[in-house]
Amino acid sequence: MNQSVWGPVQREMTDLLQGHPDDVPAVVEQLKELQAILGHVPPLLVENPLCDFNKLYLTITEGVLERLYAGKFKDPAFLSRLDVEFAARYFDALRGWAGAGTSPRCPEVWACLFQRIPGPDCRPLPSACAGVNAHINFDLPFALVTTFDHLGSDPIDDSDQHHDYLEINDIFATAIPGLRRGYLEKWQLLIDTMNGCLDDWWQGEAVEYTRNVAWRNAQKLWGIRHDMSATDRERAGLDKTAAGLNKLLLSPLGAFLQ
């Protein structure tokens, strides 16, 4: 195992990842500390692509927490659990990261982003998008399934939970103005240059759309959640597709989104 994948902050990283936050305030706290640590990863320091994503994710989670405190959600127990489960998958990916090719526990879609931490430099927007893609297209459906399973309810359209879930799109919209309308045409252009299933994934309205895809995928996974091998296959499939998109985002092509 490569012990120095985080360079001089290896120790801080390991210590931080010992923690398993179990509520939203603790998730925010952990993301804040992570932000500080990531800023010390050489050679790019605060310019590294994971920093870009983490910063965005922190902003979004703070937005969620604020709304939770303000009583803005219909089913806060659901949303809190979801937020914690969601974050746990990001922290798991970080925990599993031991360098390219030697991280069997790190999903490919995250590995794509993590291996770009030392460079070559990519632009902040595509970097953040790559993280968002990994987190939403891959982690989110599973976080949803676990949350519903734990709470003993199911993913039903137009339910309180679905309503709360969609509410987060507003937070995304304010947090990533760069992803809004103006960029969509460029996204579409980029996607059009690709063949295959990516086209189905990434048409329409970036984050909002993918988040709904995640909801649909969660419903699909929900139906097969007792079948371990089917779930495994689905997971591998999601990982592969999302990783394909990440490679594209982090390629020189992705820079033109900026």
Partner: protein
């Protein structure tokens, strides 16, 4: 029984255990160190081949040597295993065959009894391999046992494949929650590093290995000991070319196997492990001698391991390799032979296994009876999740035209509903409605409404009930039932006027045509809706009548429901706690005399205990809870009782017991259940405050605030009070107040106050009480030293007849007044009153707080009571510590008299009796009247 090849794969066949010595001793010590609840658990995770099973085996051996009773079970990956399979299988090895019981809780109790019987006076170690394949029932049983509910001093050691935890596997969540407990450890088994791999290779090759070869083994195995070991064996046996993959290793070995051994390996691969020798003999067409020879070869080539109960493939990784090697036609034939072998007369029917083989044999029609039988036996064990899966596969096995499909759909829908698969239940019901021989329209609407209501889709559920009522084929009985359910639904939605109107109709219909259950349901809806609409007497009369009706029917469930409704109405909206407690206890006694309705007895006692707590009769509440716990509750009922008991421990100041119950609650909640999280967090905050741990108290409250629904006004009130109190205590202790937390708490209070106008009157009264407490704490946080808001809070809680919050308010009122040096006499009066209440309840930390305030301002707490309470008992006769008066009270108490009766006999007030009883408890260091009586009777 035929001959068996046993113990061939014993320890000497295993390679040496390298690099795990520290883990091994750590695991053993973790298992030995039981938590406060007497239980402990270690979950070992890691990739396939990393050595989890080996670690389990080694640990089990060492623990057995250390005097533990060891029970081992393996979970199956056939997906549709029977409920509780690994534990029941393990118990069978000790000749304990667990039979179905009266309800799901009774079944858990029965399993626990068997576990206790196996353990005898030893501690029990339950070892479970491949836990990722455990069914839902097994997971629930584990949590039940680890929470200490089974009364088994158990240590659990389980292995989980890391790969399984990556997606949305339920264990992922369970482990994430459990790992926070002190008695649970999750051990992640890492691959071996280079040096350890070299050590392993050197040991296997007896040192005859080139360094670069050892290096290659490390590279190719990635430090996976299973792979490294097999590669090293190839090296030792002088295979020319070191294989690149595990697959190559085993394929080349497969080629060397003699044909009969080849057949044995393939057969075991197709079987469900362990494959018993006699079953194998029927599957593989070999003579006894040939079979034994073949098995020996399979074991020698390290494909197969043999144990007392049968044969297994040596490793899951081997099974995966073999899976790709067997032709589909070959596999089909093997499954058919297994099915036939298992069906032979004399064999105990294992429906789940049989169903699996017939399905894989491509014989749906032969599989169907087994699948149906498996579904039914799963239902007998309350494994509705498993049953639902069996019913679903039964449906897959039948064509659309098959006549039995209608019945199967009905079962599939109902079992899906039972296990909380609401979407599935509804879609099955949809299919059922399209059958030519579907149930009546009314029946379908009723079921759909029930499923929708369970899924929380209340608006559509309401519409379905309406449709059922309008359906032309609706019988009078069904109509009464639909109306009663609808009234209940409306009540839950808080639409009291609608509920009331509907309940009146329902009751009318039920009186003529309904069942007792419908009558009780309609009466309850009417009673509660009336109470919430400020007509409590009308509501009470209706529910009392329902109890009479249930009494006449004598059916335990109906009695239980009726008593429960009456007790909840009295202790809840009517706030007539004394009578509510009486009703609850009478109901529980009534059911106990019938010897039935265990669940309802538990629930009734829970209501009684809650009421007793609120009116300040804590020792009585303690005794009631003790009785209730003896019913060995499970699930949500157990969580409720544990929370109530923990509330008492916090009040009594028994920190250890409080932590124990909080851990038990957390263990049970790891399996799901959101509505108990907030009460748990509140208790955690309350306990932390008495211990001066402000950070913990704050964090619990802040988390609670993120999870409170904006319409849960009472919960917001309790939490906000705890949060503000934590800030006030921090302020008083000279620590900084958290401005962010304070701002959020204020927002929460505003939300509560804003919402109070929409709440029903009885709820409003409670919220007002908390709003008063919040306002008063806020004055303390702001350093205002104002007795007025506290005096107001005390009055509000006096009106509610809840002495604890009232006394707490008096303490703060007195403190503020003494600080200001104003109205000292009133302050002293308030402080003494608070002290008397605290002593009567046995509220030690609270009393200690009062004493410290009294000492700070040099106030004597009572004329005849020492300022320093709770003198330590000396080494003399226990009763010698008591005053003459206290002895008289104790004597009367031991006769079973109530405080009022004692007061009447000794011509003192009931409250004074309470003070004496409090002193007696403290001097004798007991908590309940029963315990005090015991001390008296032994000493006298």
């Amino acid at each position: 029984m035929g001959t068996r090849v046993t113990t061939m794969a014993s320890e000497e066949e295993d390679g040496p255990l390298v690099g795990r010595a520290d883990t091994l001793s750590q695991v053993q010590s973790d298992l030995r160190n039981a938590g406060p609840g007497g239980t402990s658990a270690v979950f070992v995770t890691g990739e396939s081949g990393v050595g989890k099973s080996r670690l389990l085996r080694e640990t089990a051996g060492a623990m057995r040597d250390a005097g533990f009773a060891v029970l081992s079970g393996t979970c199956l990956d056939i997906g549709d295993a029977s409920p509780l399979h690994p534990v029941l299988q393990a118990l069978r090895q000790f000749d304990h065959n667990v039979r179905p019981a009266g309800d799901a809780g009774a079944l858990l109790d029965r399993v626990s009894q068997d576990l206790r019987a196996v353990a005898g006076d030893r501690r029990l170690l339950l070892v479970l391999d491949d836990l990722q394949w455990a069914d839902r029932s097994t997971r629930q049983l584990l949590l039940y046992l680890l929470a200490g509910l089974g009364g088994v001093e158990i240590a659990v050691l389980a292995a989980v494949r890391a790969e399984a935890l990556q997606g949305a596997h339920p264990l992922r969540k369970v482990l994430a929650e459990l790992r926070r407990l002190r008695s649970v450890r999750v051990v992640d088994l890492a691959p071996l590093d280079r040096d350890q791999t070299v050590e392993l290779v050197t040991a296997i090759t007896n040192g005859r290995v080139e360094p670069e070869d050892a290096d290659r083994v490390h590279k190719r195995s990635g430090g996976n000991p299973f792979v490294a070991e097999e590669l090293a064996r190839d090296l030792r046996d002088g295979r020319a070319e070191l294989s690149d993959t595990l697959r190559e290793i085993f394929l080349s070995r497969l080629a060397e196997l003699p044909p009969p051994a080849h057949a044995v390996v393939h057969a075991i691969a197709a079987g469900v492990e362990p494959v018993a020798h006699d079953v194998l003999a029927r599957v593989v067409p070999l003579s006894e001698a040939e079979l034994i020879e073949a098995v020996r070869a399979a074991v020698a080539h390290r494909f197969v391991a043999s144990a007392g109960d049968g044969y297994r493939l040596r490793h899951r990784l081997v099974a995966e390799i073999l899976a790709g090697e067997v032709l589909p036609a070959e596999a089909t034939a093997l499954h058919r032979r297994f099915a036939e072998a298992l069906e032979e007369p004399g064999a105990t029917p294992d429906h789940a296994r049989l169903a699996h083989h017939w399905q894989k044999a491509g014989e749906p029609s032969r599989a169907l009876p087994s699948v149906v039988a498996a579904a039914r036996s799963a239902e007998e064990l309350y494994g509705f999740t498993e049953a639902h899966r069996h019913w679903s596969s039964a449906l897959e096995l039948t064509a659309d035209g098959a006549p039995e499909r209608t019945e199967l759909l009905a079962h599939a829908a109902e079992s899906a509903h039972q296990c909380g698969e609401h979407l599935r239940a509804l879609s099955r019901l949809e299919d059922l409605s399209h059958r030519p021989d579907a149930p009546s329209q009314c029946d379908l609407h009723l079921r759909r409404a029930r499923y929708l209501a369970a899924a929380g889709r209340t608006a559509t559920a309401e519409a379905e009930y309406e449709r059922a009522l309008e359906a032309p084929d609706c019988s009078p009985r069904q109509r009464a039932s639909a109306a009663a359910y609808l009234a209940e639904l409306l009540l839950h939605l808080g639409r009291y006027a609608d509920a009331n109107a509907r309940a009146v109709d329902a009751l009318e219909m039920a009186e003529v045509n309904g069942s007792t259950a419908d009558l009780v349901r309609a009466s309850a809806a009417l009673g509660f809706s009336a109470a919430f609409r400020e007509d409590p007497d009308a509501g009470l009369a209706v529910i009392r009548n329902a109890v009479d009706i249930a009494e006449r029917s004598g059916h335990p469930d109906e009695l239980g429901v009726a008593y429960l409704h009456l007790a909840e109405l009295l202790t809840g909206p009517l706030n007539n706690i004394e009578e509510g407690v009486l009703v609850a206890r009478r109901g529980a006694d009534r059911l106990a005399s019938l010897g039935a309705g265990r669940t309802y007895q538990t629930r009734l006692l829970a209501v009684a205990a809650k009421g007793l707590f609120r009116v300040g009769q804590w020792s009585e509440a303690d005794a009631v809870l003790e009785t209730a716990m003896r019913h060995r509750p499970s699930g949500a009922d157990a969580v409720e009782l544990l929370l109530s008991r923990c509330q008492l421990w916090v009040g009594f100041g028994d920190v250890e017991a409080a932590h124990r119950d909080l851990d038990a609650v957390a263990t049970l909640l790891a399996g799901g259940g959101a509505r108990h999280v907030l009460p748990m967090l509140t208790l955690r905050a309350g306990l932390a405050m008495w211990q001066g741990e402000h950070a913990t108290a704050r964090a619990s409250v802040q988390r609670g605030l993120t999870e409170t629904r904006s319409d849960d006004l009472v919960l917001i009130g309790v939490l906000a009070w705890h949060g503000l109190r934590a800030e006030a205590e921090a302020h008083a202790a000279g620590q900084p107040v958290d401005p962010g937390a304070l701002r959020r708490l204020k927002v929460a209070v505003e939300r509560m106050v804003a919402g109070v106008g929409n709440a029903a009157v009885p709820v409003r009264a409670v919220i007002d009480g908390y709003a008063d407490l919040c306002a008063a704490e806020l004055s303390r946080v702001e350093g205002r030293q104002d007795p007025a808001p506290w005096a107001k809070a005390a009055t509000t809680w006096d009106t509610r007849r809840q002495p604890y919050p009232a006394a707490y308010s008096r303490l703060r009122q007195a403190e503020a007044a003494l600080q200001r040096r104003s109205r000292k006499a009133v302050a002293i009066g308030a402080l003494r009153e608070a002290y008397a209440t605290a002593i009567a309840m046995g509220a030690r930390p609270f009393a200690a707080e009062i004493v410290s305030v009294a000492q700070r301002y040099k106030v004597a707490l009572a004329d005849d009571v020492a300022t320093v309470p709770f003198p330590q008992p000396q080494d003399t006769d226990e009763l010698s510590l008591l005053t003459q008066r206290e002895r008289e009270v104790l004597a009367a108490l031991a006769e079973g008299l109530t405080n009022r009766e004692i007061g009447e006999r000794l011509f003192i007030s009931e409250r004074t009796v309470g003070v004496h009883v409090g002193h007696i408890f403290d001097k004798l260091q007991v908590r309940t009247r029963v315990q005090a009586s015991r001390v008296f009777l032994t000493a006298a």
